[in-house]
């Protein structure tokens, strides 16, 4: 997988712009779901992923080919999603007539409320903890994969995730007790 990606990157750098389309096609769904797991906003997530891929193309000439393209684009999307959410003030649209995008069951009010609480609790975490929670428990990445994305040694990722889990526990308790 990495060899294919590296070959495609080299092709793009040589001037074959269309080769970048293959990378977009390959990773767009995974990146979209990452952005969605952070923002819970479908339209915003689409914009984030689009902007991230365009940004990645613009910076491709500076890309270290010893790294995995996968980790690199992950990092771009992750940062973009976290910072976009910060700028929007964690606004979560919730309308009983128009429930959040990923919950379409009309009578599942209890699940919708829980989903809101979970989102609130997640949003209260510092970006460095929230990103680890999403990468580990939503994206199901290994410590080594996360380490490459966040550019921290696996041991540090682990210890930071331990803190993140405890922070999530406290944050959820606060949201439920509020």
């Amino acid at each position: 997988m990495q060899e294919t990606d590296t070959l495609l990157v080299i092709e793009v750098i040589k001037g074959n712009t269309e080769a970048f389309g293959l990378l977009v096609e390959k990773y767009q769904n995974q990146m979209y779901n990452l952005a969605l797991q952070i923002t819970r906003d479908a339209d915003l997530s689409k914009d984030i992923v689009q902007d991230s891929f365009v940004k990645a193309y613009q910076k491709l000439s500076g890309f270290d080919q010893c790294r995995k393209f996968f980790s690199w684009i992950y990092r771009i999307v992750l940062n973009e999603a976290l910072n976009t959410q910060k700028r929007s003030g964690f606004f979560i649209r919730f309308d009983e007539d128009n429930p959040p995008h990923d919950y379409s069951k009309e009578n599942n009010i209890e699940k919708d409320e829980t989903s809101l609480k979970v989102q609130k609790a997640l949003n209260r975490l510092a970006a460095k903890y929230k990103s680890l929670i999403v990468l580990k428990h939503y994206q199901a990445l290994s410590y080594e994969e996360i380490s490459e994305i966040v550019k921290l040694p696996p041991g540090k990722v682990k210890s930071r995730l331990y803190i993140a889990r405890d922070s999530l526990r406290k944050s959820l308790e606060n949201v439920y007790n509020a």
Partner: protein
């Protein structure tokens, strides 16, 4: 107060990494009511998180991404040379040679027609402190960095105006060649905030860019072109790099 051993074993349990002895050790710890409560609350919070994971979806943005990229990299239209000049000079070599000669001729005419340089009145330049023609601004285009770094010149002093409004705690390390530059001074324009800076022979470290505005003064030994590397990072995580060109 959290039991560190309990925390470690709880997290190992979540990751499925407990050895047999560690399982036994955890079971012993969980006989304590408070520790069991902690363990349950961590495990349950992750269960709630996972049960409320947004459903996986598919999109297709390939065309829209590629259209944006194509617009940005559209090659210049190749003009077809349909002028009489190329029609008359069919041979490529003759064409290039005559084009070159014509270019030299035109350049010579322009040069000869230039007015002579007049001596710059020394009195006029006395007291001139900055050269605005050299000034340059780098606008940061990173999602967590908002603002710009301005480069200004005042004689042999290069002034870096680092006024970034970052959305998270970010530090900056400026690195340069000690044979070209030396630190002349650093000023924090927000002295009430918690930022600080340190300097070395070939670097300046600025902390807490989110709430500080720094002016960095470097002395250029030879007033020759050079580069300053700026690295922006949050603890151990690199955010972005920038190369600042010093153009004397």
């Amino acid at each position: 107060m959290l039991n560190t051993k309990l925390e470690e074993l709880t997290n190992k349990y979540i990751d499925g990494e407990l050895t047999a002895p560690e399982k036994d050790e955890l079971n012993v710890l969980l006989r304590d009511k408070d520790k069991k409560q902690y363990f349950d609350s961590v495990v349950n919070s992750l269960d709630v998180l996972k049960r409320n994971k947004p459903a996986a979806e598919q999109i297709d943005i390939t065309n829209s991404v590629m259209n944006t990229i194509r617009k940005q990299t559209e090659p210049y239209m190749k003009k077809t040379m349909s002028s009489g000049f190329t029609q008359n000079f069919r041979g490529a070599k003759i064409g290039y040679a005559l084009s070159f000669a014509l270019g030299v001729l035109i350049t010579g005419i322009i040069f000869l027609l230039q007015p002579g340089y007049s001596e710059v009145d020394e009195a006029f330049t006395k007291g001139t402190m900055s050269n605005p023609d050299l000034n340059r601004t780098y606008f940061m285009d990173e999602s967590s960095l908002n603002g710009s770094i301005k480069v200004e010149y005042s004689g042999e002093i290069v002034i870096l105006d680092v006024g970034l409004k970052t959305s998270e705690a970010i530090n900056c390390k400026l690195s340069f060649s000690e044979s070209q530059f030396a630190v002349f001074g650093v000023k924090n324009m927000e002295p009430q905030s918690k930022g600080n800076f340190t300097t070395g022979k070939n670097s300046v470290h600025l902390s807490h860019l989110e709430s500080n505005h720094y002016l960095v003064f470097l002395r250029s030994f030879n007033r020759t072109p050079g580069k300053i590397d700026a690295r922006f990072f949050n603890e151990d995580v690199n955010v972005t790099n920038l190369t600042i060109d010093i153009n004397y």
